[in-house]
Structure formats: C-alpha cells, structure tokens
C-alpha cells in the first residue's frame, strides 16, 4: 500500500491535471468564440452567392439559419454554448463536425489520427534516439574532427526553418529526382504485405525526413550533447573512468542513462503534442494528418472539430506531463515525490 503522503500527492497532481485541461479548454473556447467567423453564415452565404438566385421568403431563410444553429450547437448565449461544449468535452463527444457533416468529430479525427500518429511517433522517437545517441557519442570525442563537423552541422541545421528544408526536399526528391511520388497514396488492404510497407514508406519518408533531420540534428543533438558534456565533468563519471570501466559501459550506464532521464520528459511532452498534428509539415507535404484538418477547421470556423482536435492535443500534453511527473521518480532514483 502506498504511503499516505504519496496518495495525497497523486491526488493533488491529478487535480492540477484536470484544472490545466479545463483552463486550456476554456482559453481555446473563448478564443474560438472571439473569432469573427460564423460558419453557418459562411456556408449559407457561399451557397447563396453561387446559386445567384433569390432566396425569396425572408421567413424561410431565417428558419434555415435557426435550424443550422441548432444542429451545430451554436444556439443560445455565450454561457449556454460554453456549458454545452463543456458537456460535450466531458463526454468526449464533440458532436457533428460542421465541415464534414454528418460525420461526427470522432469519425473525422479517426480517419486521420493513424496517419498523424504514425508519422509523428515514428519521426519523434527516431529523431530523439538518433539525436541523443549522436550527442552523447560526440561528447566523448569532444574536440575531435567528427565532433566539430557534427556540431557545426547542427548549428547550421538547427536554425533552418523546417518549411524551407521541406520545400528543398520536395523539389529535390519529388521533381529533380522523382524518387517519391507527390500524389496521395492508397493503402493496400493487406497490412502485412511488402506492398503496404513500401506504400507507407513512400508516403511518409519525406515528411518524416524533414522532421527527423531537423529534430535529431537540431534540438535533440544540441541538448543531449550539452548534458553529456555536463555529466562528463561530474565526479561520478571521473570515478568511473578511474575505476577503469570500459568506454562502452561508461557510455551506456554512466552517460546515456543520465542524459536520457531528463530527455524522456521532453520526449513525453513532444509525444503529447502529436495529437495536434504537425501543421506546416502536413500542409507542405499534402499529408493527410490532423494538422491539415485542424487548419481547415480553424479557417472555416468549425468549432466542434477545432475543439475536438485541440482538446485531444491539450489532453495529450497535459496527461503526458502529468504521467511524467508521477512516473519520473520511479525512473530517476534521484527525484523524490515532493
């Protein structure tokens, strides 16, 4: 059985988590409400403009507006709408997406979630692993040629805006050397076939590459190298060396283990953000992920969909942070519950 103070701490942490999610949701809702877009008006007005025909009876038009406001949950005062959306949020049922009507928000998200998760989990973890390992290894050879080249490369790659890099990738691999097709892909039904792997590879390589190269060689590399250098100067590392432990053992047990613990926190927050999608990357690569969907929804003022995706992201990040806070003491023996 857990000690009393631990239970108290756990409960408090979960309370904070709920409060965070609630506040973030409220902020999003308020901002969405301030947004000068009335999607019902937008949709009807657009149809009317294209029709070019008189709508005739003003009463009928007014009724039409009313019906739509009702269907999309946009009826009533600000507070009423807030309560209704909060209710939807609590049941995690965001109702019908206005853009994709009559599909529900969950349905629309579920079409794209696998893509986003596949891309971002894959590329985030890969860049995390690569960046940290390179960072730690390079710190062992601090001052050598390899270290200098890698460091310079990272310093140059880190600040390149990734959309510039993405564009370069598209032009090189989509056009000059058309290795990767730019057309959307079709997933084979058999997910265990070679064809499936090739198809997914084709669709994901370029966007993943753009994230991995910049992520791995940028932030992860720089931060892990910084921490590794920090650890190398610590007494326990020196004592490890004095005890004549093999280099590989030092790298694994002394360097990486101590670097990875704080980096895991950063990774978990990063993984939490995947539910928001990678907006610019997805738009640039025409990738069918949540980011593009969110952008479309924001543009159109599709409240349920925006709130659905943003809430997922909020919950993702908040829960990831909370879980890390709770689990961290288990992973890192130095930290205790406060």
């Amino acid at each position: 059985m857990l000690p009393k103070h631990l239970i108290k701490y756990f409960l408090f942490r979960i309370l904070i988590l709920l409060a965070t999610i609630f506040t973030a949701f409220t902020i999003t809702f308020v901002i969405l409400k301030i947004m000068p877009i009335d999607i019902v008006n937008n949709i009807i007005a657009r149809s009317m403009a294209v029709t070019g025909a008189a709508l005739g009876d003003p009463e009928a038009v007014r009724r039409m507006y009313e019906i739509y406001y009702e269907i999309f949950g946009l009826k009533g005062t600000f507070i009423e709408q807030y309560v209704s959306f909060l209710n939807r949020f609590l049941t995690m049922d965001f109702g019908i997406s206005i853009l994709a009507r009559p599909a529900t928000v969950q349905e629309v998200i579920s079409y794209r979630l696998p893509w986003t998760v596949a891309l971002l989990v894959f590329s985030t973890i890969l860049s995390w692993v690569i960046g940290n390992i390179i960072g730690a290894v390079v710190s062992l050879f601090e001052g050598s040629k390899l270290s200098n080249i890698l460091q310079s490369l990272a310093i140059i790659l880190y600040p390149i805006p990734y959309y510039v890099f993405a564009l370069v990738l598209i032009y090189i691999f989509g056009y000059i050397i058309p290795l990767f097709s730019l057309t959307p892909i079709r997933l084979p039904s058999n997910i265990f076939s070679l064809e499936f792997i090739i198809t997914v590879f084709r669709a994901m390589t370029l966007p993943a590459l753009s994230i991995i190269v910049i992520g791995a060689l940028g932030w992860w590399f720089l931060s892990s190298r910084a921490m590794a250098l920090n650890i190398i100067s610590e007494d326990f590392y020196l004592y490890g060396e004095i005890r004549g432990l093999p280099k590989l053992h030092l790298l694994k047990k002394y360097l990486l283990k101590n670097i990875l613990l704080p980096q895991i926190t950063a990774l978990s927050i990063n993984l939490g953000t995947i539910f928001g999608g990678a907006l610019l990357t997805e738009i640039l690569f025409n990738y069918p992920g949540l980011g593009t969907l969110l952008y479309q929804a924001v543009n159109a003022g599709d409240y349920p969909l925006v709130l659905g995706i943003v809430s997922m992201s909020i919950i993702g990040v908040a829960v990831a942070t909370c879980i890390m806070d709770l689990l961290y003491p288990l992973i890192d023996p130095r930290i205790r519950y406060r």
Binding site: I37, D38, N41, A49, T51, A53, P102, I170, S181, T183
Partner: protein, 752 residues
C-alpha cells in the same frame, strides 16, 4: 605551413561540397529519370486505363473532410471534391451546352414545357433509364425529390428553394411530372438544368428507393452513391485525398444513346498546391487541372505534352468563364453611396497593368470587360457591342494597346471595346465635385476632414482575385486613397456582416443564352424589407431607399447613408419585366440593355475583366481535350459539364491500356436542342399534340470569327525544355555556398 593548408581547406571544403551537390543534382537529370506513375490505384491497373483529374480551386483546402459524404442536399459543399458532378453521378434533367447555349436532353425526352401563364411546368422523362443499382428511374423519383426537400426543413437551402417556388407536384404518368409554381416563372427549369456547377445551383433527382428508407436526413451519408451517370465509385481515401470511379458497363446511356466513355477509371486527386500539381503533371501523374497564369507557363515549359486551350499555340487562355470579376461597392455606406466616388475609383484603375499581370508568355490574358456581362457569343454581340454608344459616353479607352486589340480580335470580340481610360484627372475632378479634397500628404480627405479609407476584401483561394485585388489596392493607393486590403478565409461570413467597402466578387457574367442571368432578379426594391437577409448582389435592391426600410441586420452593423436614386422606380419596373419575360423571348434583350445601362450609369460594381483561365490537359496518356478548334465542351475540371470532356477523350498510344476503349464517346447530335422550352396550354399527356408558340429569335448574331484570325497573330514560341535545370542548380549551389561558408568559418574558427 600547416596553418596555410588549413586556410585553403575551408575553400576546398566548400568547393567539394558544391561539386558533390552539382553532381547529385545533374547526374540523374542528364539520364532523364523516367518517372514511374505511383498513383493510388489498385494493383494491376495500367496507367492508360486511368484518367487523373485534379479538381483544384473549388474544394476548400483541396479535399473534403469526410470522403464518405455524398448526401449533397445537406448544407455545405460535401460533394465538391469527389468527382460526383464530373462523372455525372449527380445527373440533372438537362445539361446546358455551354459552348452553344443549347439544351442537352439527358434524363428527359423533351425540353421543359411551360403553360402559357408560366405557372405550370411539365417534365417528360426519358424511358428506360435505370439507376446504377439497376432500379428503374421514373417520375416517382423526381416527385420524391421535391417532396423530400419540402418535408425536411433541416435540409436548409433545398427546402427553402422548393417551398419558395413550388406550389405542388403531381405525377401524370410514370414518365411525366407536372410542377405547379407559386408565381409565374419562365426560368424555373434552370433549377433543374446543369449549367455551371451543380448543387446548390441546380437540383438533382435522388433515388426514391434508397432515400425513402432514411429516417434522419441529417445523419445520412449516401455512400456509396446510387448514380445515373456512366461511372460508379469504387473507393475513396478515408482522408479524402482521392476518389476512384469505375465505368459502369451496363449504363443506360450506352444502351439508349450509344455513349460509352473511354476511360475505364477516373481518379480524382487532391494535390494541395499548384506547385505539386505542376510537378505531378510534369511527371505525367496528372492528366487535367487548372493553373494560374504564373504556373501555366511553368507547366508548358516542363511538359511538352501539356495542352492549353489551343493546344500549345496562342491563346492558352480560356476566357469563356460564366462569371466576370468585379469589385462590388457597399453602396449603402457613405461615401460609396455616391456615384461620383464609385466612378472616380473606376477611373483610378489602369486595366493595362492588370492585363499584363495575367499575361502568359504566349500573349493571352484576361479579357478587359467594362460591363458585368460575359464576353462571348451571343452576349458580346447583344450587349457589349450593343451598348457601345452608351459605353463611349463613359470615357472608354479609345486608343488601347494593339496587343490587347489583337487579342480581342482573335477571341472574336469587339476590339474597340476594352475598358475605361486610366484617367486620374477625371477621377480627381469627380471626387472634388462631392467635396473631397487632398491633404498635404497627398491623401484624399472626406469633406469632414477624415481620411478616405477603403476596406477592400477578397477571398484567398480564388486564383482570379489574385493579383487583381493587390493591383487595384496598389493603384488606388497611388491615387491617394488609403486602402486596407483584407484577404479573408471566411470571406462569405464577412460579406454578410456588411462591414466592408469594396469586395471582390463575381456577381456578373452570363451564359451563351439571350438572357443575362439571375442577378438582376434580386434588384427589385421589394426584396429590401426589414426582416430580410440581403442576398449577395451588392445591395442594389436597397439603393435609394430610406434607411429605415433597410434590413435591421445591415443597420446593426453599418451606418446606412441616405441616397438619392432617381432611377429606383425605373429599375424596379425593369426587373419586374425581366422576371416575366421568358429567357428565350427576344424582347428580353432590350430589357437587359436597359438594366445594364442603369447599372453602368451608377457603376454599382466595377466589372474588371472576364477571367483568363488556364485549363491544362496532359496529352501524354489521354488525347482529345477540348480546344479552341474543337470546342465540344467546357474545360472546367470541377464543373458538371466536365462529363462531356471525359466523353470526348481517347487514349494516346503512349500509355499501356487494358480496358479503356480506344475511341472517344461523343454525344450524339440528336440530344442537343436549342434552348427554346416548349410552351403549352395543356399538360403533354392530356393532349399529346404539343402546341408550340412560334417565338423565333429574330436577332441575327455574328458567329465568332475565331479561326480565321489566328494566323494574323504572332505567337510566341515556347522555348525548348532544357535538360539540365541550371538556374535551379545555381540557386542551390549558392545556398550551399553560403551555408558552407558559414560552416567553414566555424570549423576554421574552432581549429584556431
């Protein structure tokens, strides 16, 4: 010694880097990599069996959020990106042949038959038609459609439009339907005729046997759709990026009319951006799409198989779009309620700059248009040339550049009519006449001393608004007007908030028929009642009315100015007459002329041009795209009439084919009839002998003279495609040089 070597090492590094880059970039290029099409089609289907269409500009964001939504009567444009319209899945009763204005009898055997008072419409359906699931198509389906819309207010627009227009609907026999209208309306058949888009412009018939089982019309998705067209949907991407349609082998059209489309499969893809479309078409992964004038020159350079409107010759531009591009004034708001201000802003625009901005290397561009009427047969001859003397009063440019005149002549248009003169003096004079004055900073001030500000709004996605709005904003600013340009995503919502001054729109235009189009119908002041939401036509219906008559929705948001409009009554009368006159009646010509004269006099909108659109087909795999010479269909890839483009295609020898037929399936001649709906006193089934009133059009219009003049124009030859893309390489090399130099500096710095 060593240090010296170090110094050189930097430059060696950079040089080596650049050489490697150059090698990487050039080697594959010089071997000309043959791009393997990697289309999202099921395995085993050869490229030649698939027609790949990008439907581009109309879908919001290029793709639909829910790909399985085909219940098109629901609010929004659910089916916009699916190929639903283009494949004829949503089939109308009639198509309009947009190159001639003739009706194409599709699901019907006859043109619409009106009663003499235009309160009843009889529709005679074709016998033997079946839905794609084999169920026969009858009058019940049509009646069910109308009743379905009437029954559910949740369907919104569909419900509103049926309840406003239709009194009752009745089945005379299995193939004859009688629609009773609430008011006399000789235009009602347009609601069932596919002219330029599809729903919400016109209605489709929905299958009764499917929809009658539906309890909640809001939740129903109608997937897979049951169609009347020659294709059925096979598969759709869950993320809406593509839709694959397969030819229906037992289609009623093949049996009844002998039409069998050539492509076995049609793939509609969303590529997301023009760049990607260019690259895809250059790689022959795309067969048809629309480009903007910037990108069309790129694709014509990159792919020798790319065909524009006149194959690879002048003119590439297709200028027969039904809409004209206008800058619409918020005429309820001061100072835009003043005709002088509107004209002054018109004269401050230099159309030659706009022409140049849209110009492509071959010399084709937009068509300058002083009137909100489409510039093609017969509207050009009837109205634009017809109002020439009127137009000349308004300072028309009498000495346009010769290249613009030549261009107009090639298109068969009146080369004397270009646009208003860029006349800043006159504009200045007009503004001063209403009390405006220039401040010391050169900016215009309102009489009360405030700076004259114009809030110009535009859609971001509409490629035709760009760069027009930017150029106009720039020119007005040069003239001393403070322009605030806003490019807004939720444009329509903004328009309906009435809080803008000038908006980019396309309320003008027209079809190759005698009547202009629907917009003047709403100009009647009876539409301006307090409770109404103003339909989007620039508020002409409210112009000149006292502010208290203006709808509250408007008054809530803007301060409505008092306006003197002496022609208000005249306009109302004209609109009444316009509504009562059938579209095929020659008397309508004079009415429209008068309407246009009023419009011209008060300059409610600045009609800037008829757009030049660049519809590019890739003839690598599919040939027979409609061209200037073989103008059998409209080339717009997102409109319903694109079905006829599909029917005109045949495979080239270059791509492997398996199941596509080698011949195009042209529409038989007998299907198209002149747009002259029949007028009868009795329902057709009651008296089989239909009495047609002989209302022949007595105006003789000059046939377009396109073909004969082409040879007189010097066309610019498109340069040969270079195998190695040097400039790009140099760009890349320079970028790496900069990066390399910085990197090298760092490396050297550390070495010290």
């Amino acid at each position: 010694m060593r240090k010296n070597w170090l110094k050189h090492r930097l430059s060696i590094y950079v040089l080596v880097c650049n050489f490697i880059l150059l090698a990487v970039l050039t080697i594959p290029n010089s071997f000309t990599v043959t791009a393997m099409p990697q289309l999202p089609i099921p395995p085993g289907i050869p490229r030649g069996d698939v027609l790949v269409i990008e439907n581009g500009v109309v879908c919001p964001g290029g793709w639909g959020p829910d790909p399985y939504q085909f219940n098109y009567y629901q609010v929004g444009w659910a089916t916009a990106c699916t190929g639903f319209l283009q494949t004829g899945c949503g089939s109308p009763l009639w198509y309009m042949n947009l190159t001639s204005g003739e009706l194409i009898l599709w699901l019907t055997e006859k043109p619409p038959i009106y009663s003499t008072d235009y309160k009843t419409l009889w529709i005679m359906l074709r016998k033997g038609i079946s839905w794609s699931d084999g169920h026969p198509f009858t009058a019940d389906d049509l009646i069910f459609t109308i009743e379905y819309c009437r029954k559910y207010p949740e369907l919104g627009l569909c419900n509103v439009r049926i309840t406003t227009n239709v009194e009752s609907v009745r089945k005379l026999d299995d193939y004859t339907v009688e629609i009773k209208l609430k008011e006399p309306n000789p235009y009602y058949h347009y609601e069932w005729t596919m002219r330029h888009y599809g729903w919400p412009v016109n209605f489709y018939v929905i299958p009764k046997h499917v929809f009658e089982k539906i309890e909640d019309p809001v939740k129903y998705k109608f997937y897979p759709p049951v169609c009347l067209g020659p294709y059925k949907i096979v598969d759709a991407d869950p993320t809406g990026k593509w839709y694959l349609w397969e030819r229906l082998e037992n289609w009623w059209g093949t049996k009844l009319l002998g039409i069998k489309p050539s492509p076995k499969y049609i793939l509609f893809v969303a590529l997301g951006s023009q760049e990607r479309s260019v690259i895809a078409m250059a790689n022959n992964e795309l067969d048809f799409t629309e480009f903007t004038s910037e990108y069309v020159r790129i694709i014509m350079d990159r792919n020798p198989y790319a065909w524009a409107w006149n194959k690879r010759d002048f003119p590439w531009a297709w200028t027969r779009d039904e809409g004209t591009r206008e800058l619409v004034f918020n005429i309820l708001k001061y100072p835009f309620n003043l005709t002088e201000v509107r004209w002054a802003l018109t004269y401050a625009i230099d159309y030659k700059v706009i022409f140049d901005a849209y110009k492509t290397p071959d010399g084709s561009s937009i068509v300058p248009n002083p009137l909100p009427v489409s510039r093609f047969y017969p509207l050009e001859q009837l109205y634009v040339s017809g109002l020439k003397t009127e137009l000349m009063k308004y300072n028309l440019d009498t000495t346009p550049p010769s290249y613009i005149q030549d261009y107009l002549r090639v298109l068969g248009l009146d080369d004397a009519i270009t646009w208003y003169k860029h006349d800043l003096e006159k504009a200045e004079e007009l503004l001063k006449s209403v009390g405006f004055y220039r401040g010391s900073d050169g900016k215009w001030r309102l009489p009360d001393g405030k700076i004259f500000e114009v809030n110009l709004i535009s859609l971001p996605g509409a490629e035709f608004s760009f760069p027009l709005v930017h150029i106009v904003a720039d020119q007005w600013r040069r003239f001393g007007v403070d322009v605030k340009l806003e490019v807004i995503e939720a444009y329509w919502d903004r328009v309906y908030s009435h809080t803008w001054d000038v908006a980019f729109e396309w309320p003008g235009g027209g079809f190759p028929t005698l009547d202009w189009w629907e917009t003047p119908r709403e100009w009647h002041s009876k539409n301006c009642v307090p409770g109404a939401r103003l339909p989007w036509v620039g508020y002409i219906m409210c112009y000149g009315l006292p502010p208290e008559k203006i709808p509250e929705g408007v008054r809530k948001n803007i301060e409505v100015a008092k306006t003197v409009f002496p022609d208000r009554e005249k306009l109302d009368n004209l609109v009444e007459k316009y509504i009562d006159t059938p579209p095929w009646d020659p008397r309508i010509v004079d009415i429209v002329k008068d309407l246009l004269s009023i419009h011209l006099k008060y300059k409610f909108w600045i009609t800037v041009f008829s757009p030049a659109r660049y519809m590019v087909g890739n003839s690598y795999c599919w040939e027979g795209w409609p061209t200037l010479k073989e103008r059998y269909a409209e080339p717009k890839p997102y409109c319903s009439s694109f079905l006829f483009t599909i029917l005109g295609l045949k495979p080239s020898e270059r791509c492997p084919i398996k199941e596509s037929t080698t011949e195009p399936a042209k529409v038989p001649k007998g299907l198209t009839v002149e747009l002259k709906p029949l007028v009868s006193e009795y329902p057709p089934t009651v008296t089989p002998t239909v009495i047609t009133t002989p209302t022949m059009i007595t105006i003789t219009v000059v046939e377009e003279r396109t073909r004969t003049i082409i040879s007189t124009i010097t066309t610019k030859v498109v340069e040969e495609v270079p195998t190695i893309d040097w400039t790009l390489l140099i760009t890349m090399a320079l970028v790496t040089l900069v990066i390399g130099a910085a990197g090298g500096y760092l490396i050297r710095a550390r070495k010290k």
